[in-house]
């Protein structure tokens, strides 16, 4: 198990969060707190770059759904970039691959 790290930056399209490590029951609250502090403007795109996400459990999925709800409420969009295979498999099982726009990487996700 590895700790969770979150690196944030701003792209032209909106905030980009790089998620590193394990997103699980013990760490999910960190990302949740980070997202709560984030201000999204209408039309922005919130990119979660999961390239270095090692593990994501149901608590992690919950935060992704909360982020989606937050973005929708702000008339913004949540998109996922570079989703690792193991997480993509879970997203497919729970049907979220139909909900979140998925991009190969952040470059693709932030190109306007």
């Amino acid at each position: 198990m590895s700790p969770l790290k979150i690196a944030a930056r701003d792209a032209a399209t909106g905030p980009v969060l790089h998620i590193l490590g394990d997103l699980d029951y013990t760490t999910a609250h960190q990302l949740r707190a980070h997202l709560t502090a984030l201000t999204l403007r209408r039309g922005q795109r919130l990119v979660l770059d999961l390239a270095r996400l090692d593990f994501c459990d149901s608590s992690g999925i919950t935060v992704l759904i909360a982020a989606h709800n937050q973005a929708t409420a702000a008339h913004a969009t949540l998109v996922l970039a570079a989703v690792p295979d193991n997480t993509l498999r879970i997203l497919r099982i729970v049907g979220l691959d139909q909900l979140f726009p998925l991009y190969a990487d952040t470059t693709a996700a932030t190109s306007t």
Partner: protein
Amino acid sequence: MCRADEHPEPREAGAGASTDAAFTALLEDSAEELYESAPCGYLSTLMDGTIAKINATLLDWLGLERETVVGRKRFADLLTVGGRLYHETHFAPLLQMQGEISGIALEMKTCGSDRLPVLVSSAVKHSSDGEPLLIRTTVFDASDRRAYEQELLHRKQDADEARRQAEEAREQAEADRSRLQEALAVLQQSLLPASLPAVPGVETAVYYHTASPDRLGGDFYDLFPLDGKRWAFFLGDVCGKGPQAAAVTSLTRYTLRTAALHDPDPVAALTTLNSVLHDRYTGGDPRYCTAIFGVLEPDPANDCVTVRLASGGHPPALVARSDGTAALLPTPGGFLVGALAHAHFASTTTELHPGDTLLLYTDGLTEARTGPDRTSLYGDDALLAFVTDHAGAPPEEMIQALAGLLRGLGDGVDDDTALLALGSPAHTSAHSPATSHLR
């Protein structure tokens, strides 16, 4: 052993004697003065305890006049009641037996009805023919020492009290903890059926693995009759753990039971649950579950059980066939239940023939961490291979095998795991009534 007094050096003897005399003159007026004003009490008594002589120091301590004491009081009269008792039972007999006694702690009465703690030593003076003549006694003021002892005693009592309070707090905490555990266990049991009802023509088996006894798990399952011919079952996993997850589990269980009685269609039941959960938990704290809901319809005439099931974001069920094969029962595109206002649920149908077993499980098993560094997951493929290996086994045996597998994964299983197996019993011949399945 220098016996200087017997063989003094002549030259020095005179000088030494005069020096001693000078010192004595300087320091003490007389032996009498030393006796009376010594920093300890002196007294001499007859053998019956009557005081014959007492020094001024002791009279001063006790606040007594010489004339009221000498010849009138006994030593024991100067003691407190407790001191007198001790004198009577221990001090006097010991002194009589040994001829001397030293350092005995007693208490003496003073004029202000105060007590003076003292240390007493006595010795019997004998005549030349060995007859006891009188008792010489010295008395030391032990107030400071007693105060010190009292202080020690108080500190010890304080420490004992603190220890007792800590112990009490610990016991209380332990009692609270065990009450909480009990409450958690009762709650946990309310989330799961105590036992599964018998379904004619169907064998069932369940297993629930609790990853942590302190955290209420979010896995659930149930099996219950819909009408005379059909039974509904479900198994699922509420996101998260703890009391909040348990509340969702409870809501989920009773919503699905109620929904199934109104409309037993699996997709309808999940859709109802989706609406209930989504309405109840909206916004920044979404609560949802994954679930498979199904309906069993045994068909005794055709010797099979029809299963219709729908999945909401749950890992696909597995079917192990009597011919030794096993396959996933995919329901692609089924959404998490409760996460979105409008969710899509996929359904599928299968038939269980004799010796076939349907297995539902939660991802505690497939997401169990394996490998030396616990970084790999057990995975869907491994589970399919395991079930294939046990294809043909009746539900109970299948569940036992999987329970053994979970135990083998040890603390790699960091989430609760629920297993539910439903099977159509294999035909048994008259010669082997137990089971046709040999392994």
